[in-house]
C-alpha cells in the first residue's frame, strides 16, 4: 500500500508533461534546432494572437469530447480505443440528419443534427460494448476493428451513395445553413464584438457543458455510481444489484456519444458537409487527454487545452521551422501516453522518492 500525498495527484500530470516535453526537446535538439526557440514559437503561435487562440480552442474542443469519451469508458473499467471510428460515425449521423431534413428551421434541425452525431457515435460504441458484456469479446480489439470498419464504411458512402453529384472529392453536398453551428466570430458580431475569423464555433460551449455534465454524471448520479462500481469491482456491483453487463453497454454508448459529438465541431461547425477522415486522429488524442487528465473532467479540459496549444503551435512551428513538422505533436502525444499511462507507476515512484528526500531535508532530525 502506497500512501500518496494529495498533491501528487496534481503534480504528477504536470511532471508527466514536463518529462514528455523534455524528451521532445531532445528530439528537436537532435534534428539541429533550438528547442527553447521552438517552444517559444509554438506557444506564441497558439496563444500569442486572437487568431491563434481561436484555433487552439477549436482543436481543444474536439479533444475535450474524445477525452471525455475515453474517460467515461475508463470509469466503467473499459478501454475504448474506438473514439476515432465513433467520431466518424457521429459525423455520419449528423450528416444523415442534415441531408435528409434540409427544410426544417434551425431550432429543430440543429438539435436533431447534434443528436444524430451523438447517436451515431453511441451506436458504433454500443456494439463493441454489447459484444464485451454478453459475448466476452475483448473491447480493445473490437474497438480497433470498428475504427477500420468505420473508415471503410465512410469511404464507401462518400465515394458512392452520399457523394455530391459531379464532385470527385470524397464529400457530401453542403448542409443547409440551418444545420450549421454558428462560429463564435459570428455570434460575437451580433453583440457588436469583433473577433478574428477562426474555426472556433458554438461546439466549444457544448464541450464545456459536456465537462460539467460528465462530472455530474460520474460523481453525482446513481448511474455514475453504478459505472464507477462496475469499473472498480464488478463482483461488488453484482452484489449491489448493479448489472455489470448492462452498465457496460450504457457506459460504452455514452462514451461513443461523446466521441460522436466531436463531429459537431468539425462537421457542423466548420465543414458544413461530411468529408473523409475529418476526425484526423482526434479520437486517439483523446486517449492521451484522458490519461493525462486522470479521468476527471477538469483534468481533461486542461489536457485538451494543452493538446490544442500543441496542435495549433505545432502548425505555426512547422511554417517557421520546416524541419519540425506537425508530426512532432504525434511524438509528444505518444510520450504523454507513455509517461502518464504506461509508466505512471515509475513516475509516481520517482515522485514519492523525491518527496521523501525533500521532506527529510526540510525537517532535519
Amino acid at each position: 500500500m502506497t500512501f500518496s500525498p494529495r498533491w501528487l495527484g496534481l503534480v504528477l500530470p504536470l511532471a508527466n508533461v514536463a518529462i514528455a516535453l523534455a524528451a521532445a526537446g531532445l528530439l528537436v535538439l537532435a534534428i539541429g534546432e533550438n528547442p527553447v526557440e521552438a517552444m517559444g514559437i509554438a506557444f506564441r503561435g497558439a496563444l500569442g494572437s486572437g487568431n491563434g487562440i481561436g484555433y487552439t480552442l477549436h482543436y481543444a474542443t474536439s479533444f475535450v469530447f474524445t477525452g471525455l469519451a475515453v474517460a467515461v469508458a475508463f470509469h466503467a473499467g473499459h478501454f475504448n480505443i474506438g473514439g476515432e471510428g465513433q467520431a466518424l460515425m457521429g459525423g455520419l449521423g449528423a450528416a444523415l440528419v442534415a441531408l435528409a431534413l434540409p427544410d426544417l428551421p434551425w431550432p429543430i434541425l440543429l438539435p436533431l443534427a447534434i443528436l444524430g452525431a451523438a447517436l451515431g457515435g453511441a451506436a458504433w460504441a454500443a456494439v463493441p460494448g454489447w459484444l464485451q458484456a454478453y459475448r466476452g469479446s475483448h473491447i480493445v480489439i473490437t474497438t480497433i476493428m470498428f475504427n477500420f470498419i468505420a473508415g471503410a464504411l465512410l469511404v464507401y458512402l462518400l465515394a458512392g451513395p452520399l457523394r455530391m453529384a459531379g464532385s470527385m472529392a470524397l464529400e457530401t453536398a453542403a448542409f443547409a445553413p440551418a444545420a450549421r453551428l454558428p462560429s463564435l466570430a459570428d455570434l460575437a458580431a451580433r453583440f457588436g464584438v469583433d473577433l478574428p475569423r477562426t474555426p472556433l464555433n458554438l461546439s466549444f460551449a457544448m464541450a464545456l457543458v459536456a465537462c460539467l455534465a460528465v462530472w455530474v454524471l460520474i460523481w453525482r448520479t446513481r448511474l455514475g455510481y453504478a459505472i464507477r462500481t462496475v469499473g472498480a469491482n464488478a463482483e461488488a456491483a453484482a452484489y449491489a444489484g448493479i448489472s455489470p453487463a448492462r452498465v457496460t453497454v450504457i457506459a460504452l454508448a455514452l462514451s461513443g456519444a461523446l466521441a460522436g459529438l466531436m463531429a459537431t465541431n468539425e462537421i457542423l461547425g466548420v465543414q458544413g458537409r461530411l468529408i473523409n477522415e475529418f476526425a484526423a486522429g482526434a479520437g486517439f488524442v483523446g486517449i492521451a487527454v484522458a490519461l493525462m487528465g486522470r479521468g476527471h473532467p477538469a483534468g481533461i479540459l486542461a489536457a485538451a487545452l494543452l493538446f490544442g496549444v500543441l496542435a495549433q503551435g505545432g502548425a505555426e512551428l512547422s511554417f517557421e521551422k520546416p524541419a519540425i513538422t506537425r508530426d512532432m505533436i504525434v511524438v509528444i502525444q505518444g510520450l504523454v501516453i507513455l509517461f502518464s499511462g504506461a509508466l505512471e507507476g515509475m513516475v509516481r515512484h520517482g515522485g514519492l522518492v523525491l518527496a521523501q528526500r525533500l521532506g527529510r531535508k526540510a525537517v532535519p532530525a
Binding site: F79, I149, A152, A288, V331, G334, M346
Partner: protein
C-alpha cells in the same frame, strides 16, 4: 487459361502482401503467449521500416538495413517490456504509446534527415533484398498447373518472404517442443505457477517481448527494403492491426496464424484487383467491403458466432506478487 494465370498472379501478390502480416502476427503470438498483449506491432514495424530504409539510404547493404530495422524494433520492444513488465504498466496503453511514438518519430526524423516530406530516398536495386528465382522455376513453367504455381507463386520472392514462411514451423517448434516454449506459455497462462516453480516470470516475458521485437524488425525491413524501395510515412497502414486480427483469428496458434495471414493477404490482393469489377450474380462489390472484411471476420469470431477465440489466460494482466 487466362483465369488460371490471373489467379496465379493474385496468389503471388497475396504471398507478398501476407509476408509482413506473418512476421507481425508471429511477433504478437510470442508476446501474447507469454502474457504480454502487444498492440504495438504496428509501431514496431514502422520504426523498423524507417530504420532499415534510412540505413540503406546511407550504406547500400540490405543486410545492414535488416539489422538496423531489428535494432529499432527491439528498442521499442524493450520500452514495452520496461513499462509493462518492470513497472506493471497497462499493456494496451503502452502499445498505443509506442504506435504514436513510431508514427511521429519516423516522420519527424525522416523529414529532418532526408527532407522529402518524411520519405527516404528511392533505393537502388542493390540496396534492396532482390527476388530469388528458385531452382528449375523456368523449366517448371512448362508443366501445367503445378509447374506454373511453382514458378509464379512459390518462386521469385525475396529471401525475407521465405524466412517468414520458415519462421512458422520454427515458432511452432520452439513454442511447443522446447523447455523455453513451455515456460513462456506457462507465464502467459498462470505466472504464479511459473514463479513458484522457481523461474523468473519477468525474464521469460522479456525474452518473449524481445523475440516479438526481432520479428517486427523483419516485417518492417521487408516493407521498406524488399517490397518497396524506400520508406514512406505511415507505410505500415494498419498492417500491425490486421496482424493482431489474424492472431485472434488463428486463436494464438502458429499454423493457423499462417493461414489467417494468407487469407487476409489474399483479400488484400483481391481488393486491389476487384476495383470496379463486378461479380456475376452479386453485382459490384465495393472495394471497401473487401478491405474491411478481415476486421469484420475478426469481430464475428471474437463474438463467438463462429468458434471461440480465447486468449492466453493471463495475457493483459501484469504479474504482481501476492502479499500473503
Amino acid at each position: 487459361m487466362s483465369g488460371w494465370l490471373a489467379l496465379l498472379a493474385a496468389l503471388d501478390s497475396a504471398v507478398r502482401l501476407a509476408t509482413p502480416l506473418i512476421f507481425a502476427c508471429l511477433a504478437g503470438l510470442w508476446s501474447e503467449r507469454a502474457g504480454i498483449v502487444d498492440i504495438g506491432l504496428e509501431g514496431k514495424m514502422l520504426a523498423a521500416a524507417f530504420a532499415a530504409a534510412a540505413i540503406v539510404a546511407i550504406v547500400p547493404n540490405p543486410w545492414l538495413g535488416l539489422l538496423a530495422g531489428i535494432g529499432a524494433s527491439m528498442a521499442f520492444a524493450l520500452v514495452h517490456g520496461f513499462a509493462t513488465i518492470t513497472w506493471n504498466g497497462n499493456q494496451i496503453v503502452s502499445g498505443m504509446a509506442l504506435n504514436f511514438l513510431a508514427a511521429g518519430l519516423t516522420a519527424v526524423l525522416g523529414n529532418a534527415w532526408f527532407g522529402q516530406g518524411g520519405r527516404t530516398p528511392q533505393l537502388a536495386g542493390a540496396a534492396r533484398f532482390g527476388e530469388v528465382t528458385l531452382p528449375l522455376a523456368e523449366a517448371a513453367e512448362a508443366v501445367p498447373f503445378a509447374g506454373g504455381f511453382y514458378a509464379e507463386v512459390i518462386s521469385g520472392h525475396s529471401l525475407l518472404v521465405y524466412s517468414a514462411f520458415l519462421l512458422v514451423p520454427l515458432t511452432a517448434f520452439l513454442m511447443f517442443r522446447t523447455r523455453w516454449g513451455l515456460r513462456l506459455r506457462a507465464s502467459g497462462e498462470n505466472p504464479a505457477a511459473v514463479e513458484t516453480a522457481g523461474l523468473s516470470v519477468a525474464r521469460l516475458r522479456y525474452s518473449a517481448v524481445l523475440v516479438a521485437g526481432i520479428l517486427c524488425g523483419f516485417g518492417g525491413a521487408y516493407l521498406s527494403i524488399a517490397q518497396s524501395a524506400g520508406f514512406v510515412p505511415d507505410m505500415t497502414a494498419g498492417k500491425g492491426y490486421i496482424a493482431l486480427a489474424a492472431l485472434v483469428f488463428a486463436k494464438w496458434r502458429p499454423w493457423p496464424a499462417l493461414g489467417a495471414c494468407l487469407l487476409f493477404g489474399f483479400l488484400d490482393a483481391m481488393a486491389l484487383r476487384l476495383q470496379g469489377a463486378s461479380l456475376p450474380g452479386i453485382g459490384a462489390i465495393p472495394v471497401q467491403a473487401i478491405q474491411a472484411l478481415p476486421y469484420i471476420l475478426t469481430v464475428i469470431l471474437l463474438a463467438g458466432f463462429i468458434g471461440r477465440a480465447v486468449p492466453p489466460k493471463a495475457s493483459g494482466t501484469p504479474y504482481v506478487k501476492d502479499r500473503s
